[in-house]
Symmetry: C2
Subunit: 395 residues, 2 copies
C-alpha cells in the first residue's frame, strides 16, 4: 500500500503527545484530538531537509533567495504550481506573500468593503470567515448549502435573492470546509455569472485544493474566465497539505493588476508583514519537490475517509454524513441521535474524542461536528470505536 | 578576551558567502558588506539549540507554548526582560506580537493618524520611518539632530516650533539609528513634556536597546512616567541583537489599555498576522537564556567600535564621526573629502566596501554613509584598510 511506503501509520500517540502542538496539547492526554485542521504525519522529506539545512547553517539573518526577497521565491513556486497542477497561468508579480490566510480574509474585507457593507458566504463555513466579517463591523449574508440527497450543493437561486446592493464581496471556500465539496465547473460558472451581475469581488480560499479524492479535479475560480479573474482574489498556502501551519506562509493572488492596486490603496503591503524565512523555505520545498510525498499522503487520507464513512454507515447509521470529495475533514450530522448535549460535548466527555463543534461553523448547526481524519489508521480506528461505544452505551 | 571565548572572530568570509543572506548576497563576492543591520556572528547557542530541537522533532503544525498561543510566550518573555534589564514592569496582555517593526510603524501611522496628518521624527533616521509616513499619505516633519561639538543631540526647541496642530505622532528611535545616540533621562523627559503639551502619541522604536556601550543605560520611554506611558507605543525585537531577522518576530507594547483599544479599533490584530513559531521560539530563547552570549557579543562590538573610531581618527581624519554610544552602526560624514560621487558609490566602486547611503536616512545627508561594524575584526580591519587606501589613492 502506497501509504505504508510513506510510514504514515508509524507515528505513535506517545510521539504525537510530545509535540508542542495546538492539536495535541489543547486537551488532556487521554483525549484523541480530531479537531483543528492539522495532520499527524511527519512532514514531507523535502520540507524536513530544507529545515535541517537552514538549521545546520544557523543562517537566520535578513534573507535573500535567488537574488530576490524570499517572498518572491514563494510567489514563483506558487506560479509554477498553479500552471502544473491546474493549467492556470499566473504572474508572480500579481501576488502578495503573507503569514496566513485569516490575515488575508481580514485584509480583503477591509480593502474591498466599508463598515455596514455585507459579505456573502456559503454556510456552514470555516469560522474565521465569519470573524473577518463580524469583527470588522461588516454583515454576514449566509447562503446555506442544502443537502440535495447526494451531497451538499451551492444554492445559487437563494444566493441571487440575497445579493442586495449592500453585498460587495463573496467569500468562496473551494474545496469547501467543512462540507468537503469540490465545486464543479458549472457551479463555479454560475457563481461567476452572479458575481459579474452584482459586481462582486470574490475572495476564493483554495487552501484545500491539493487534497482532492477519487480523481476529481480542482478548478481555480480565477481560471474560469478572464472576467472572473478580474474580480477574484485567490488565497492558498502549502501549510495545510504539507503540515507546517506553525511556520506560517500564505499566498494572495490578484486576478488583475487593477484589483491589486485597489487592494493596496487601502492595505499597504508593509502593513501585512512578510513571513519568516522558514515558512517560505518550507513552502518552496513543498510546492517544488513535495508531490511524491503528497501522493502517498493523499492515498492514506482517501483510505482513512473510506474507513470513516464505512464505519459510520455500519456502526452509527443514525449519523448523517456525505463522503468528502476533498479535505481531510468530515461534516457529521448527529441530529438523529437526540443527544442531550452538543455532539462536541458528548464525544469529548463520553468518548474522549475532540471534534470541532458545529455551531462554530454555523449557529444553526449545533447538532453537527467536524471530524479531522488526517491521522494514523490505528488512531482513527480507536477514535471511531470510542465514538461507537459512547453512542451505543448511552442510557 | 571575552569575545574570543565566543569565537566571534572565527567565522570566515568563505562561510559568510555561503549564507543565503541579504547582507552577503546583495553585492558581488569581492565586496565587503557593511550595510544592512545584521550581524555576521553565529547565533547564540540557546537560539541554535531551540532551532535544532524544533527541527529534530519536525514539529511544525499549529503550535501551543505553555498551554497558550505561541505569541503569549514572546509577550511573557518580553515582560520578564523589560523588568530585569530596565526595571520596567509591563503586562504581557498589553502587547501584540507581530512579524517585524516596520509593520508596526505602518500600523501605528494608520491607527493614530489620518491622511494629511503629520508625523515628527528626529533626522537622519532609519529609512522605513520615512516610508511609513510618506507611503500612507501622511507628512514627515523632520527635527534634525545637530552635532553639538561632542555628539548628535535632540533639538527640542526646533521640535517644539515644528509641532503644529497637524502633527499627531512622534516617531522616536532610541537608541537612535543611525547616530548611535542613547537618549538620556533629561532628553526623554523633555520629549515627554512636549508630547503631553501637544497631545502626541509616541512610537518608540527601542530595537537597539541591548546594544549599549561604555556602561550606559537604556531608559524605555514609557518608563519615564505614567503620563508618558499612557501615550507611548514601544516597539522591540530580539532579532537585532541576536541575529535572526529572517525568522521574524517583534513585540508592540501599549502603555495603556485605552491606547491598545484605540489602536485595535483601527487595526484589527488579525490583520497583522502572527509570526511563525521559529521566530517566536528564537525570541523566547534569546530573551530568556541569551544574556551570557550577548555579553560576549557586546564586548566584541564595543571593541570593534573603538577600532573603527581609532582608525578613522588616525587614517581618515577628514571623516567626521561621533563614537556611537549604542548600536553596531556608525554615522560617517565624508563631506570634507569632496568626493565627486556619493560616499556610498565611492567606497563601493573604489574600495569594494558596501555602506548604506546617507541620503536614505535624510535627503540632506548625501555626503554621509552608515557603516555596520557587527562583523569579525579581520573583516572590519580589511574593510577599513580598503577605505583608507581608496581615499589616499584618489587622483
Amino acid at each position: 500500500m502506497a501509504n505504508d511506503a510513506f510510514h504514515l501509520n508509524d507515528i505513535s500517540v506517545a510521539t504525537l503527545l510530545e509535540r508542542q502542538s495546538l492539536k495535541w496539547r489543547r486537551y488532556e492526554p487521554d483525549v484523541i484530538p480530531l479537531w483543528v485542521a492539522d495532520m499527524d504525519f511527519p512532514v514531507a522529506p523535502c520540507v524536513q531537509r530544507v529545515m535541517e539545512k537552514s538549521t545546520a547553517k544557523g543562517d537566520y539573518g535578513y534573507a535573500l533567495r535567488d537574488g530576490d526577497q524570499p517572498a518572491m521565491a514563494a510567489s514563483k513556486a506558487f506560479a509554477c504550481r498553479m500552471e502544473q497542477k491546474f493549467g492556470w497561468r499566473v504572474d508572480p508579480a500579481d501576488t502578495l506573500v503573507i503569514n496566513d490566510l485569516v490575515q488575508a480574509l481580514f485584509a480583503s474585507v477591509i480593502a474591498f468593503t466599508d463598515p455596514g457593507d455585507a459579505v456573502a458566504m456559503q454556510t456552514p463555513i470555516y469560522p474565521p470567515f465569519r470573524d473577518a466579517v463580524r469583527d470588522t463591523g461588516r454583515r454576514i449574508v449566509a447562503n446555506p448549502m442544502p443537502d440535495d440527497g447526494r451531497r451538499f450543493v451551492i444554492d445559487a437561486k437563494d444566493l441571487a435573492e440575497r445579493l442586495d446592493g449592500n453585498v460587495k464581496l463573496l467569500f468562496l471556500c473551494n474545496p469547501h470546509n467543512p462540507t468537503g465539496r469540490v465545486l464543479e465547473r458549472a457551479e463555479l460558472e454560475k457563481l461567476a455569472q452572479l458575481a459579474a451581475e452584482k459586481d462582486l469581488i470574490v475572495i476564493s480560499d483554495e487552501i484545500h485544493s491539493d487534497i482532492i479524492f477519487d480523481g476529481r479535479r480542482h478548478i481555480p475560480f480565477a481560471s474560469i474566465s478572464d472576467e472572473a479573474a478580474s474580480r477574484t482574489v485567490t488565497l492558498t498556502s502549502a501549510t495545510k497539505s504539507y503540515g507546517f501551519a506553525g511556520l506560517r506562509c500564505g499566498v494572495v493572488h490578484f486576478g488583475s493588476k487593477s484589483l491589486k492596486q485597489r487592494f493596496e490603496a487601502r492595505i499597504h503591503p508593509r502593513l501585512l508583514g512578510t513571513p519568516g524565512v522558514t515558512g517560505i523555505d518550507a513552502t518552496v520545498a513543498a510546492w517544488t519537490s513535495g508531490e511524491p510525498w503528497f501522493a502517498g499522503a493523499l492515498d492514506h487520507l482517501q483510505s482513512n475517509r473510506d474507513e470513516l464513512i464505512a464505519t459510520i454507515g455500519r456502526d452509527l447509521p443514525e449519523v448523517k454524513v456525505r463522503s468528502p470529495e476533498a479535505t481531510y475533514l468530515a461534516w457529521l450530522d448527529f441530529s438523529a441521535l437526540d443527544l442531550t448535549e452538543t455532539p462536541y460535548d458528548f464525544f469529548l466527555n463520553k468518548a474522549r474524542v475532540a471534534l470541532s463543534p458545529g455551531a462554530a461553523f454555523d449557529p444553526a448547526c449545533e447538532r453537527f461536528a467536524r471530524l479531522n481524519f488526517a491521522t494514523t489508521r490505528p488512531i482513527l480506528a480507536e477514535a471511531l470505536a470510542r465514538m461507537v461505544r459512547a453512542v451505543r452505551g448511552r442510557s
